[in-house]
């Protein structure tokens, strides 16, 4: 097995007395879409912030392509190839859609013309090419999520960290967005995605990690993880797995009328 693109090893993050992330490890294989799921407050966003360089871990290491980047500031990680989106979208509200994306494009293109061309190409790929001149503040929620994705993609990352890009979207918007994300991976960008929309996780992810109360409790193929006892209990409470199983066996034993 080839070395993982991103390696997170035994990362712990404490805020005062609160342990938000506790000894969590994960790998993102090159070319994969890896999911990170877990109940609210599990520490997913904190772990993301540690990977992207916005929070320093209290313990543990983060490596990209084998290089230790634990102490590297966020903007240098972006240069190294890590791009992130924010759970709460952070557009440059006073700027147009094109100007927003171009800030990302300037990372790899020094000159305005090249950066603009690259930004326009990215906008087309995520379906924002009709709104280039619009102020970012006038976009809908779905539009802002796309903008968030486009800006990150414009930095031409190796690894894309998506923090709930589907949250707040309606079912048809989610259906529109899933192929966009899959296309990004097909174009060679590995993805680590935090998501609550299970339909999307099941469809998109090759591997899923489950974080609960800061600890990594399971990982594996999405279908396997969804049947994992520990995972079901983390979401639904202690004993839920046993109840579900007994209900399923009852349902199976009752003949259809």
């Amino acid at each position: 097995m080839s070395a993982a693109l991103l390696q997170v090893r035994a990362v712990t993050k404490r805020f005062g007395g609160l342990v938000a992330v506790d000894d969590a490890s994960l790998d993102v294989a090159a070319g994969s879409i890896t999911g990170l799921i877990g109940p609210n407050g599990a520490g997913k966003t904190t772990l993301f912030a540690v990977i992207a360089g916005f929070e320093a871990p209290s313990a543990g290491r983060v490596a990209l392509l084998g290089d230790d980047i634990t102490d590297t500031p966020a903007h240098v990680r972006a240069q190294a190839g890590i791009a992130r989106t924010f759970q709460i979208v952070q557009p440059f509200a006073g700027l147009s859609v094109l100007e927003n994306i171009r800030v990302g494009a300037y990372l790899r293109h020094r000159h305005r013309a090249a950066a603009t061309a690259s930004a326009v190409a990215v906008a087309r790929a995520v379906g924002l090419d009709q709104m280039l001149e619009k102020p970012a503040s006038t976009l809908t929620v779905a539009g802002r999520k796309r903008l968030e994705l486009a800006r990150a993609l414009a930095t031409e990352p190796k690894l894309l960290l998506l923090d709930e890009v589907l949250a707040g979207l309606n079912p048809s918007e989610i259906r529109d967005m899933i192929p966009v994300i899959r296309k990004v991976r097909d174009d060679g960008v590995s993805i680590l995605i935090v998501e609550h929309v299970m339909q999307a996780v099941m469809q998109l992810c090759d591997v899923v990690y489950v974080l609960a109360q800061g600890r990594m409790i399971a990982h594996g193929a999405p279908g396997v993880v969804a049947r994992d006892t520990a995972v079901i209990e983390a979401y639904l409470g202690h004993g839920a797995a046993a109840r579900m199983q007994s209900q399923q066996s009852i349902a199976a034993s009752v003949p259809h009328a």
């Binding site: 992207a52 916005f54 500031p73 966020a74 903007h75 240098v76 972006a78 240069q79 791009a83 992130r84 924010f86 952070q90 557009p91 440059f92 509200a93 006073g94 700027l95 147009s96 100007e99 171009r102 800030v103 990302g104 300037y106 990372l107 020094r110 000159h111 305005r112 950066a115 800006r151 990150a152 414009a154 930095t155």
Partner: protein, 320 residues
């Protein structure tokens, strides 16, 4: 954000440059020269605050450093003013870098940054007022030598053209900056620093470059001030008056726009002078401070009606 093209900038510069060929009174020429000095200071402020969103309340620190360097280099070291000018700009830029390094590294933002810059300017004012090297409370007097090689001109029009040339230079620097990578990064930091960092923007480096450039341009205004009035003391150089002038003009003219500081200065100073004259005529005597009342009303009006300044109004009209 729309960027002002080269054409409107050139047109404005040509009109201003042509003014002294008309029947211009001495008072008017003095007014215009002074307005160019204030414009230059405001252009410096506009780069840091208008584009970068870092609202300084202490640009006097840079104006004064430029001015004192210009005066002291001539008087104590006998350096020709044409050479002292760029050295003074570098000195002002260095002070900008130092203040920026101390406050941005400590992650000061918003009103905290404004207060710290104000404090720095005040410290400089007190130091300049007590230190013998800068002439202390008596100030520095630059002797009158009406000689172009000494950057002093018998014909006042030449000083105006010199100041206008500096303003023009700053206009084109701002124009280029707005369209550059650094400019885009600066605006991104203003809009949302976290998002900018996520996109690979080194926020500290960007802000440091901005404050250094901003300070040296405002420092150049200080140099011109010395050559125009040939006298300097701590309250003129480091007083809050210039910090206020430098920020009012871009706010009224249009924050972060290329022409905003120039338009704002001309409107503010013009209105101030006119209101003084008009009220003096109406009441039959000077009304002290009436220009400040008018400016206050204008500022409130600006914030209420045209938060993006005069340039914002012009742009909205042009679109409608």
């Amino acid at each position: 954000m729309n960027t002002t093209g080269i054409f409107p900038i050139s047109a404005v510069v040509f009109v201003l440059a042509a003014l002294p060929f008309g029947p211009l009174s001495n008072t008017m020429l003095n007014f215009l020269s002074f307005a160019m000095i204030i414009t230059l200071a405001a252009q410096g402020w506009n780069i840091l605050a208008g584009l970068g969103g870092q609202f300084s309340f202490g640009h006097a620190a840079f104006f004064g450093t430029g001015a004192y360097a210009m005066a002291v280099l001539q008087m104590r070291f006998g350096i020709n003013p044409w050479l002292a000018f760029p050295i003074a700009m570098i000195a002002a830029g260095a002070v900008g870098f130092a203040i920026g390094f101390l406050s941005f590294r400590a992650r000061l933002r918003g009103s905290y940054f404004a207060l710290v810059t104000l404090a720095f300017a005040e410290v400089f004012r007190i130091l300049a007022n007590t230190w013998n090297f800068t002439g202390g409370a008596a100030g520095v007097l630059v002797p009158l030598k009406s000689d172009p090689t000494q950057m002093q001109f018998g014909d006042k029009r030449w000083f105006f053209w010199l100041a206008l040339a500096c303003v023009t230079g700053a206009l084109f620097v701002t124009h280029a900056l707005v369209r550059s990578r650094l400019g885009a990064h600066l605006v991104a930091v203003r809009e949302n620093e976290d998002a900018a960092r996520a996109l690979g923007v080194d926020a500290l480096a960007v802000k440091l470059q901005a404050i250094t450039l901003s300070a040296s341009i405002t420092g150049a205004a200080g140099c011109l001030y010395v050559q125009k009035f040939l006298y300097l003391d701590a309250n003129l150089a480091y007083g809050t008056w210039i910090s206020v002038e430098a920020l009012l003009a871009p706010i009224v003219g249009g924050l972060g726009t290329v022409l905003g500081p120039l338009v704002g200065t001309l409107v503010l100073l013009g209105l101030g002078e006119t209101s003084k004259t008009v009220f003096a005529k109406i009441t039959g005597g000077a009304v002290p401070g009436i220009d400040l009342v008018v400016l206050g009303v204008l500022l409130i009006g600006c914030v209420a009606i045209a938060p993006r300044g005069i340039m914002g109004l012009v742009r909205r009209r042009a679109k409608a």
